[in-house]
Amino acid sequence: MSDDAVLTRKKKSRLVTAPVPAPSSLLFNGPDWNFETLSRIFDAVREIGEGELGLDTYRTQIEVITSEQMLDAYSSVGMPLFYKHWSFGKDFARNQMMYNKGYQGLAYEIVINSDPCICYIMEENSATMQTLVLAHAAMGHNHFFKNNYVFRQWTDASGIADYLSFAKAYIAKCEERYGLEAVERLIDAAHALQSHGVHRYPGKRSMDLATEERREKERRAHGEALFNDLWRTVPQAKDRKPATKKKIDEERRKAILKLPEENILYFLEKTAPRLQGWQREILRIIRLIAQYFYPQRQTKMMNEGCATWTHHRIMTRLHEKGQISDGSYLEFLHAHTSVVMQPEFDDRRYSGINPYALGFAMMQDIERISLTPTDEDRSWFPDIAGNGDAYGTLKNVWANFRDESIISQYLSPHLIRKMGLFHIVDDHAEDEMEVAAIHDERGYREVRRALARKYDVARSDPDIQVVDVDLAGDRRLELRHNVMEGVTLEEKDTDRVLQHLADLWGYEVRLVEADDETVYAEHKCEPIRPFA
């Protein structure tokens, strides 16, 4: 199949070099493009995206870059500006080598969750690929960034560029003032803890006075409505044993420090006794950047699914409207199919579930359910089956779900069968792994639940919390890893990270790995070169 597509594309490019007058409705002819073509393409793509699909996007800024600049962008996590650190140089060195040797191609585009939404597109792309890229990034991702609740809750698209430029300047200033080495060491330590520098739940906002008053009134009204004098006569429970002084102290201490706390970087920034102001600020910068990327990790599959479905629909519509030629459409299909290819588990190429493949398949499946449902779909998805509004349904899904929730809500038996998904449990206490569920009537729900768990970021990151510290005593920081399913932390890495943590904290650090019944391991670390 793919070979055919390549052949056709080649034939086509030979054809178009002949001076055939293009029918006027074609957006472009042949692989070449210029800025005028690009803006014509964008207008046509937007007409379908916003007009027909009703997408709602940020303004778009298209930036044309070279492959070299794409490599640069890779190593600063795609952001236009970023602070300097050797680890990005390491990524760059690796990517550059992989690319130069041909082990790895480059992405066609990079899109940034900002307002205006910045799309980097490569100059090497053919006109067809640029159309695809604009439909994918400038429409699909852009709509997702603007509308998905996780992004709306956690990121500020209009402020990120300014914040990064502040961060870069601030860190550069610190380097000048306190020395490269000191800053580098601090960033090393912060990077090691970056995965545990995010808030997973929005904190409680303190209420304004008017709301407080209103709630107080409501509460009183409720109390009056329920008042019954009989309650007075009910015998009281015996007084519980008064808490010991030690217990009270501990509770008070934890309350003051707001413990337990799972955002370790936040805790250090606010509480570490020996850090200086600039060091706290750098911890904050790194924690906020981690927070900015947190939604992307939670919605990777959906985000790509949304963008892939959107580009597929837009390209198909362009072809139907006669705005791109048959040859271009085949070129697009070739690229599209290789992106959404899902090797099976016993294939040599298999390296996990391809988010593009699963995402695209789910979006198509939701569309199918809402337009032409089977009886099975009607019983599984009574809320959307046959509602006839595929676009509306999809947009609702894109706005209100993330990877874990969309799978547990909308992964249909049809798709489970189509992909042949099955669930394996590997308990190291047993001799062999067990097939726990497959794509049959008994297994659909189990497979779906298991897959959803895989996509739950809060589950895949180990749950580590700061549980106690005695600031008045020896100041030892106590952490706890709530072990799930008996899977403990990687030992070498953990000790290295704890060393960083101890240096940041300035005193001894202890990490206990345990679940409700067993204590699995205990790591202790003394600071060697504390920051101060």
Partner: protein, 432 residues
């Protein structure tokens, strides 16, 4: 929507990060560089290329779950034959389904490519040419374009717009070409007069004037070929420091592959080092048995020859080549001689005289490297050539000699010869 063309933006955004990375991994990279350099041919040794450093040194640890133990779950696509309850043999401990490390960062080595420049910087850190060798001999080698005024013909790329426009302006002023805004003003005036009564005469006069001016405008062009000027460049010759390096080697039967390999390594280093200091470095290979011949690199290192050993022939050959092709007043001359120390005893005196009276005065630096096997070490007296050279070395600082019996000694010896003053670069320290 905005389209911005970033392709012209200055590249190398990641350069600073890359340098930081290399600085961080410096010790590791340096060791890797020195290992890599052993495997290359003389002229390829400065080509940069792949470097492998142990991943441990540049590790970025994170808190993550280990890959062993506990109860794990996988959901995989593409089921063909399994049904619920089937048991599957656990695959080899690593690569357990989707459990393989996702970011591709295993315990393996970290591999990346160094540029030529970076490679050499690390390779030749803290080395300097000996002080006495700082004779700057310049040869005229290349030319450089320098701005030298203007001329009236040339390629379009060197068109000087400002100069052309200046000529055009003065010509237009001199020939009284009316300005477009004057004509526009006159037209407006005529239109105004046409609207008034009793001004026909004035209007007619103005019209005639306007017609004249229009003609003038047509006759006197805005830019005349006469105005056009091009920038003119003169090619100014630029002196370039250049050096020639003579590799002398004894290829008689007593020199085995191991010794040649040691010599080759030493030559490689010297070549590289000179390459860093001079724009152009020529290499001359002279091999000798009882007679000397100039050869190419391949023959130099690989062809075999049998015969006695007469060192003075090589020196004579070198002197002859210098005479013919590398006049000492235009070239910096370096020579490196490798030998196992054998020489026809009666030739020693001749050799020393040649060296003292002809060769050393020509040279910036003359290094003698005695190669041998480790088992020969500490063999008391030293070879006949070594004994013969000893007094020369003592009296002339342009000459140095060392013994090498193992590969790992080459670099330290080289460093010892060229270490920067005060950098304290003995070989052992450099390896640390």
């Amino acid at each position: 929507m905005n389209i911005i063309d970033r392709r012209r933006d200055p590249g190398g955004k990641s350069l600073a990060n890359r340098q930081r990375f290399i600085r961080r991994a410096r010790a590791l990279v340096r060791r890797a560089v020195r290992e890599a350099s052993g495997k290359r041919s003389i002229k390829d040794i400065d080509k940069g290329g792949d470097i492998v450093v142990p991943a441990d040194g540049v590790r970025e640890p994170v808190l993550r779950r280990g890959s062993q133990g506990g109860k794990r779950e996988y959901v995989l696509p593409g089921n063909k034959k399994y049904v619920r309850g089937d048991g599957i043999q656990r695959p080899d401990e690593e690569g357990g389904g989707s459990g393989a490390s996702a970011d591709g960062e295993g315990e393996d080595d970290f591999r990346f490519a160094l540029s030529n420049e970076e490679f050499l910087d690390l390779f030749l850190e803290d080395l300097e040419l000996p002080d006495l060798a700082k004779r700057q001999v310049m040869g005229v080698e290349e030319t450089r374009p320098v701005c030298a005024g203007f001329r009236s013909s040339g390629p379009p790329s060197s068109l000087s717009v400002s100069r052309t426009m200046r000529n055009s302006l003065s010509r237009r002023t001199a020939l009284g070409r009316p300005r477009p805004q004057d004509i526009a003003a006159m037209e407006a005036e005529i239109a105004r007069l046409d609207g008034l009564d009793g001004q026909e005469d004035k209007a007619t006069a103005l019209r005639a004037d306007l017609e004249r001016k229009r003609t003038r405008m047509r006759v006197v062009p805005f830019i005349d070929p006469l105005d056009v000027r091009y920038r003119r460049y003169d090619q100014i010759p630029r002196p370039v420091a250049r050096a020639v390096m003579f590799c002398l080697m004894d290829v008689s039967g007593s020199m085995d592959e191991h010794m040649k390999d040691l010599a080759k390594r030493f030559y490689s280093l010297l070549y590289l080092f000179l390459k860093r200091r001079y724009k152009r470095v020529d290499v001359v290979f002279i091999r000798h048995t009882h007679e000397a011949k100039e050869v190419d690199e391949e023959t130099f290192f690989h062809a075999r020859e049998s015969g006695g050993t007469v060192v003075s022939t090589a020196l004579e050959e070198m002197a002859r080549i210098v005479q013919d092709r590398f006049p000492a007043n235009q070239w910096n001359i370096y020579a490196a001689q490798a030998s196992d120390g054998d020489n026809l005893p009666m030739d020693n005196l001749n050799t020393i005289n040649l060296l003292k009276s002809v060769i050393l005065p020509l040279c910036q630096y003359y290094a003698y490297l005695e190669v041998g096997h480790s088992r020969d070490d500490g063999g008391g007296e030293g070879s006949s050539l070594w004994r013969a050279y000893a007094p020369v070395v003592a009296s002339d600082e342009r000459m140095a000699m060392r013994k090498v019996s193992h590969r790992r000694d080459i670099y330290p010896v080289f460093r010892e010869l060229f270490a920067k003053e005060g950098a304290g670069g003995t070989g052992a320290e450099a390896e640390a």
